[in-house]
């Protein structure tokens, strides 16, 4: 199945909005456990991640550890984001890993789990990721670029126990987040 054709309706369960945990919660610092994509609890979690991402302004991705669950699963949706080029709509990946990463570029990132800071992080702008879809467990390969590549690397980092602040370019690459009311 092409990731582009997937939608959260495939999950067959209603997503619930979950509270997002913030650093320094230890769940954000531990590598996540691999999951069985067919496990009903994984399907529910996938639906919850999408539901929580949808109601969070500006949120383009959410990893399970951000809702307090140390499982290797995350959702992404960069549709219509001005920095995105290639996009695959809404999708959830289990046990995802980076297969190929090239052409690093610096960009500003924020995170719902570090809500008061942003930072400049170098990430590959050409990226190939392999993972499994929740439910069928189908192996999929996502080839992407630009902002979707950045979002995927940010979420895979979460699953490995890393935050964007672990990747910032230097001492002057961390900024207080501006809030516009």
């Amino acid at each position: 199945m092409n990731v582009r054709d997937w939608s959260e309706h495939e999950l067959g369960v209603e997503g619930r909005i979950r509270p997002v945990v913030r650093a320094p919660d230890p769940v954000l610092s531990a590598p996540s456990e691999k999951v069985d994509p067919a496990d009903p609890a994984v399907l529910q979690l996938a639906a919850d991640l999408v539901a929580t991402m949808r109601v969070s302004p500006g949120c383009v991705g959410l990893a399970a550890c951000q809702v307090g669950v140390g499982w290797h699963i995350f959702c992404v949706d960069v549709t219509d984001h001005p920095k995105a080029r290639t996009t695959h709509g809404t999708f959830v990946l289990c046990n995802a890993r980076v297969v190929e990463a090239t052409r690093k570029e610096k960009g500003r990132e924020g995170c719902m789990s570090v809500p008061d800071l942003t930072g400049d992080v170098k990430r590959a702008s050409r990226l190939t990721v392999a993972g499994q879809l929740p439910g069928t467990g189908a192996e999929v390969v996502v080839e992407t670029d630009a902002f979707e590549a950045r979002a995927l690397q940010h979420e895979i980092d979460h699953c490995d126990g890393f935050l964007f602040v672990d990747r910032v370019a230097g001492a002057h690459a961390v900024y207080p987040r501006k809030t516009y009311l």
């Binding site: 320094p24 672990d166 370019a169 230097g170």
Partner: protein, 177 residues
């Protein structure tokens, strides 16, 4: 352009933030003919903080007097001191970025920087931020050729375990375009 006796003056301005602090401070220095060389200016926990190293044909006392207007309402503190001219440091080792984050507690910066210093690592830039319960340190470190990166990394990991914080230590990527 500079001639005669040029002294180097280290100036600090810190206090309540408001629009116009930089314009006033640098205006007073420009009138004295003092040239701002290296500086950093930022907000620290809501205070505005300026650190400047300036060159000019004036004494530190004269510079401080010229900046006295800033202190008039009592919300800003100004110091000016003459400092020696330093040789501009050439990179002495390999550049690394150190990040530390975890729950706020006293002693994080001292424990981590002691581990760096024990191996002769020289911190050239360091920022800390406290937001909510999260304490973050990002430092740029020159690691001397004599230091073993693996040793330093394992020492930092040990400090991180003791403090209950997360530490990363990696080569800094620098692109020259």
């Amino acid at each position: 352009m500079f001639n005669r006796y040029v002294s180097l003056i280290a100036i600090t301005v810190i206090g309540h933030d408001r629009p116009g602090i930089i314009a006033e401070a640098t205006g007073a220095l420009a009138e004295l003919g003092v040239n701002i060389e290296d500086s950093t200016m930022t907000r620290l926990r809501g205070h505005f903080a300026m650190m400047l190293v300036c060159a000019g044909d004036v004494s530190a006392a004269a510079a401080e007097k010229a900046l006295a207007g800033l202190t008039a309402d009592g919300t800003l503190q100004v110091t000016a001191r003459e400092v020696a001219t330093e040789e501009l440091a050439t990179p002495a080792g390999r550049p690394y970025v150190l990040t530390v984050h975890g729950g706020d507690r006293p002693g994080i910066v001292s424990a981590v920087t002691s581990a760096v210093a024990a191996d002769g690592g020289n911190i050239t830039d360091l920022t800390t931020r406290l937001t909510g319960q999260l304490y973050l340190v990002v430092a740029e470190v020159d690691v001397p050729a004599s230091a073993d990166e693996a040793d330093l990394t394992s020492r930092l990991d040990e400090v991180a375990r003791e403090l209950g914080v997360d530490v990363t230590f990696r080569p800094q990527e620098a692109d020259v375009l």
